[in-house]
Amino acid sequence: MPHEETLAEFEERRARVRSMGGEAKLAARRSQGVLNARERIARLVDPDTFVEVGEFGTSILPEQSADTPADGKIVGYGKIAGRMAAVVSNDFTVKGASSSAVNGRKIAHMKRVATQRGLPVVFLGESSGARMPDTMGARGMGTMLGNDPMQYQRMRETPWASAVLGSCFGSSSWYACCSDFNVMRKGAVLAVSSPLLVSKAVNEAVDAEELGGWRLHAEVTGLADQVVDSDEAALDAIRTFLSYLPSHHNEPPPRAAVPAGSGAEMAGIAGLVPERRSQVYDMRRIVRCIVDKDSYFELKPRFGKAITAGLARIDGRTVAIIANNPLHKGGAIDTDACDKATSLLVMADSFNIPLVLLVDTPGFVIGREAEVRRAPGKIMNFMNALSLVTMPKISIVLRKSYGQAYLNMAGGRNSDEMAVWPTAEISFMEPAFAASVVTNAGPGDPGYEAALQKMQRETSVWDIASIFAAQAVVRPDQTRDYLKQMLETHEMRMTRGVGQHLMRTWPTSY
């Protein structure tokens, strides 16, 4: 065949692949304001950096090959802010981006190369589950599924980020749950199976939003780390997330320039904490004051709200923030907040990110509801995770730190440096409860007031500083400077900023 004809065939085949599931389906998406799989990649990666892999892959069944361009999953390599990443983008216009033998191989190749060469993996999810009827029957199952024992193994050699951008059943939801960061667009659904199958199989009438919508995953399950309004915002969130992370676990996170105006609000930080110790405030204002300007990337903001957690930068260095938020539950840590803290500890441990903990908690939530939710187990998961983090841990007590929560929030030798504000109070139990327990009395009863006053006096920061159980008493307005200096002091010089990754196999979707 003459070269011209060969090249013409190449171009014709490529055009067929690029037309995806056909103009009608693509137009329908456009009218809904939803990007298609190729537009999503173009938005995610730096211009002209995407190299597609396996674009001429199709269904393994010859009779379906013409209808399955790229076999419904578009994969390849592209740069994100100048750093190479592997990308998997589900093309819902081709058989609902259902999982098949060939597209399964394409995903496996992406993950294998990413792991061997140290690249983050991005999953852009929108898929209907295993392809039917191909997977039906014992022969179908044996051919299509279960042939890759590493398919859902997570060792965190490199960061994974996921976006849930439409109906996500099957592999898109599985990869979302395996990822270190999962952003969900409003209107998208993350579930094991569709409302249709649910209605047929268990006779439960449930709409998609109720079954796996953003509110469920942002507020109840915690499986969504962030929720956004559009595909574009989701892709931008993934770019932002990866900017805090190293490309792989054998290097420290990249250092960024410090934006102008960082620390400019520090003079007023003490005023953000009410003088009356029973009053609440929003810890996120304190966090934003301390970290580099506009760098607080909060995770799971609607889940386990008694702790605010996320990534940020201090002096250009990536840090993981775990901070009690008295605005919710008075800062009393519930089981969801434990899970949220634990999942961030796993990420920090896996990707060489130092920890900063800001403490103001009356303790863990107690009561029957907490016990039903397995509070003791959750508290110990959190505590064990903290102890397994081999990165620098710096804890600052702003106000209350009581009981086991003192340990979980890195009190004492559970951090590399523990500092306290002069406003801090530390004890085993809230003095009012302790006085009542010890005297078996209450306000107005003999002995109670004297016991209470003594216990209140004994919560003083000067006592803990005097026995060197706290390494510093820090003026609130000098907190940012203190953290900058401690992060530099505790740089992991002996290992070039790389920790031991003792939790790299821990699950975080619980």
């Binding site: 605005l327 009393a332 009356p362 509801e369």
Partner: protein, 73 residues
């Protein structure tokens, strides 16, 4: 206009009700303040709207997850 059920996020007691039925509230504005763990904990609506029902009174004990108000927004 959707009716939004506002739940207590913690077990405690109603210390002070700071809004009344018919009042417009902004997103994040406290409807009432609970007392728990020796802290004054606001009950807020994530969305703005009009307070349609207040289902507790000052001094009442409330459980975590108990619906304490209805907001229409």
């Amino acid at each position: 206009m959707a009716k939004i059920k506002i739940a207590s996020e913690i077990t405690g007691a109603v210390w002070k009700i700071t809004t009344q039925v018919g009042q417009s509230i902004a997103a994040g504005e406290p409807l009432m303040i609970l007392e728990s763990m020796k802290m004054e904990i606001p009950v807020v609506s994530e969305d703005g709207g009009t307070v349609r029902e207040i289902l507790v009174k000052e001094g009442d004990a409330v459980q975590e997850g108990q619906i304490v108000a209805i907001v229409e927004g």
